[in-house]
């Protein structure tokens, strides 16, 4: 199954009732899968919107009445959705947004890149808010994290982003789905209804009282702190005896893993730290690793975005080097292996 189709199938099994799409490469298979399969399910609806802005605002509408709603796009389309995502965050509404990102800026290209890290992890739109950001690195994980994204989003009432890329979306791998689609539709009990015979429910995010606005932002902030404490996730690979740790996410982590196997065969003690949640960032894990390991190599398919989170996490407790490739050409594991071993010798680790 392609990564895009796996996300769509996982979303249907996670009880996604409404999907709103708009064509953009490289995520069209997701929209097409939903068109063919979601609309057949009872009580579910697929709509192709007239623009990305409409698609995200349809999610806003569906979420406000209590339906599990989702949209997907790729970088330029995600930029258009930002105002809507900011609104979802302010209204504390769950939603799942998939970004099969591509290279930018501007139209860029449709090949894999990780240049949307800042946009994804710093809120993305206007206002001081965050979204949970999940970064899968295989088709299986795309499926698993899609399910998780819906649950996290409902649990914390926060929009949740799945950050993939063109390779993950188009790649075909075997995938197992651990869930059956629910027989009953999951409808949030706090959804908006007509006000016949009862006082009306109102969701307000605008206030002219400065104190109220501050309280709204404090309440969001407290929830973000709770998410940081409870939902941070990462994976480590061969870090126990490592002298150098590569930090990479998504498709870059997959390339790095291959590179690490190569240099391990040459006797270099190198490990991998792969954040699965990009926000909240697994800073504590890095701090824990920093007690033993002082050399870090951040590898990204951009010119240095996640490196800032690694440096902030280390707070001077280790030395950080960087290998980045801007969108366009994807380096092979052997290219990355050469970078790793050169650094390893330069730093006198052997």
């Amino acid at each position: 199954m392609t990564g895009n189709s796996a996300i769509a199938e996982a979303a249907i099994r996670a009880g996604c009732q409404c999907y709103f799409g708009y064509p953009i490469t490289p995520q069209n298979e997701l929209t097409e899968y939903m068109a063919a399969n979601l609309s057949r399910r009872k009580g579910c609806s697929f709509i192709q919107a007239e623009s990305e802005i409409s698609a995200i605002n349809m999610v806003y509408g569906a979420s406000v009445v209590g339906a599990r709603a989702m949209t997907s796009s790729s970088s330029p389309g995600i930029s258009l959705k930002q105002e809507g995502i900011s609104y979802l965050a302010a209204c504390e509404l769950p939603a799942v947004i998939v970004n099969m990102s591509r290279g930018g800026p501007g139209l860029g290209s449709i090949v894999a890149a990780q240049s949307d890290y800042f946009q994804s992890t710093r809120g993305g739109g206007h206002g001081d808010y965050r979204t949970i950001v999940l970064a899968p690195s295989s088709v299986q994980e795309l499926a698993d994290l899609t399910h998780k994204a819906f649950d996290l989003s409902d649990k914390y009432k926060i929009p949740t982003l799945i950050l993939g890329d063109g390779i993950l979306g188009q790649m075909m791998e075997p995938v197992e789905f651990h869930y059956e689609a629910p027989a009953e539709l999951l409808v949030r009990p706090d959804g908006l209804r007509g006000a016949k015979g009862r006082p009306s429910k109102i969701i307000k995010t605008f206030t002219s009282d400065p104190a109220q606005l501050e309280e709204l932002n404090w309440s969001l902030f407290r929830r973000y702190e709770l998410i940081k404490k409870q939902e941070t996730a990462c994976e480590t690979f061969m870090v126990d005896d490592a002298k150098l740790i590569v930090v990479a996410f998504g498709i870059a982590a997959r390339i790095a893993r291959g590179a690490i196997k190569t240099v391990r065969a040459e006797g270099l003690k190198v490990g991998l730290m792969r954040p699965i949640t990009l926000w909240p960032y697994p800073s504590e894990k890095i701090q824990e690793l920093a007690k033993g390991v002082k050399q870090y190599l951040v590898f990204e398919l951009n010119m240095g975005q996640m490196i800032e989170d690694v440096q902030l996490s280390l707070a001077g407790q280790g030395e950080v080097s960087f290998y980045g490739r801007p969108g366009g050409v994807i380096p092979t594991p052997s290219e990355v292996a050469r970078v790793i071993s050169r650094l390893y010798y330069q730093k006198g680790l052997k």
Partner: protein, 307 residues
């Protein structure tokens, strides 16, 4: 120093605005339309192209097929960028920095025009910028893999409106873009098709001479997305016109004028049966399409008679 070639006693500009070597699919009706439009526009233009087939096939970095000044914008913005260019030209002209009468021409596909770019188009028409907007309508998002748009005809199967046992595919009727544009009271609106090249070119020339906004809606046969044979492109375009599915007409200052008087329309089935996207349609659905086409054509005729 335009040279011309003589074709059936009429003079056609030999200048090719769209250079060969672009990446359009075999039998692309849109590439043909762009060539004809280019011949009519000449070289004193600035073209603004929305994202879509035409941008992807003609401007793969570091190459370009455009022999005239050309700028690309994102999907929804061609009319806004054209407005900005036209405003810039006006400002520079007032200061004596820009002394040519350069026409700004915005181009987009049906998605960029009738879906995501409608707001910007409406704004530009309302402000009455001096520009031409050309919609190349191939009736779906072909560049991204044949997803439906609001210009996709009723009953067509696309990847996001797939025909199945429970649905006939696209369940809504094609958005009437020329009427939407005409509702802005613009000086010139026309429909055209590359299967009628002289009609198309004369309409573009008319639009060039309009002071203010003008709009041309061009039906572009797309063998890839319509699942039709590549040699039937011209024939299908003619059939779309002769069945009354896509009639050729102009709206000048609100007055409708039919360019082809057809007393008897060809049956729509002739047109539908040549295309894979309509293959699943039952005789009942085809009959309902025929009824709708007849009614729409009668309405158009009435408008033309009243004008």
């Amino acid at each position: 120093m335009n040279t011309t070639v003589t074709v059936t006693k009429r003079l056609v500009n030999s200048f090719e605005q769209l250079a060969p070597g672009h990446r359009a699919c075999l039998g692309c009706g849109e590439a043909l339309a762009v060539r004809l439009v280019g011949k009519a526009l000449g070289q004193n233009v600035i073209i603004v192209s929305a994202t879509g087939c035409m941008e992807i096939i003609s401007s793969q970095y570091p190459f370009t097929s455009w022999e005239v000044p050309w700028i690309h914008t994102l999907f929804e913005n061609a009319s806004a960028v054209a407005s900005g260019i036209e405003a810039g030209i006006r400002a520079l002209s007032r200061k004596g920095e820009f002394n040519e009468k350069t026409k700004v021409v915005a181009m987009g596909g049906d998605g960029a025009t009738s879906d995501i770019g409608l707001q910007a188009l409406s704004g530009a028409l309302e402000r009455r910028h001096n520009f031409i907007y050309i919609c190349y309508d191939n009736e779906a998002y072909m560049n991204t893999g044949v997803q439906r748009s609001s210009a996709t005809p009723y009953g067509a199967s696309t990847t996001t409106s797939p025909a199945s046992k429970i649905t006939i595919g696209q369940t809504t009727w094609k958005k009437n873009m020329p009427a939407i544009v005409a509702a802005h009271d613009v000086p010139y609106v026309a429909t055209a098709c590359a299967s009628y090249p002289f009609d198309l070119m004369s309409k573009v020339q008319k639009a060039m001479n309009v002071d203010g906004p003008s709009y041309i809606h061009i039906l572009s046969v797309c063998p890839t997305g319509w699942r039709s044979s590549t040699e039937s492109v011209i024939g299908l375009g003619r059939l779309a016109v002769r069945t009354g599915i896509f009639p050729l007409y102009e709206i000048e200052d609100g007055r409708y004028k039919l360019n082809m008087q057809m007393d008897k329309l060809h049956p729509v089935e002739e047109y539908l049966k040549q295309q894979g996207r309509f293959r699943h349609l039952s005789p009942e659905v085809i009959a309902s399409i025929q009824t709708r086409v007849n009614a729409d054509y009668a309405k158009l005729k009435e408008k033309a008679t009243r004008s």
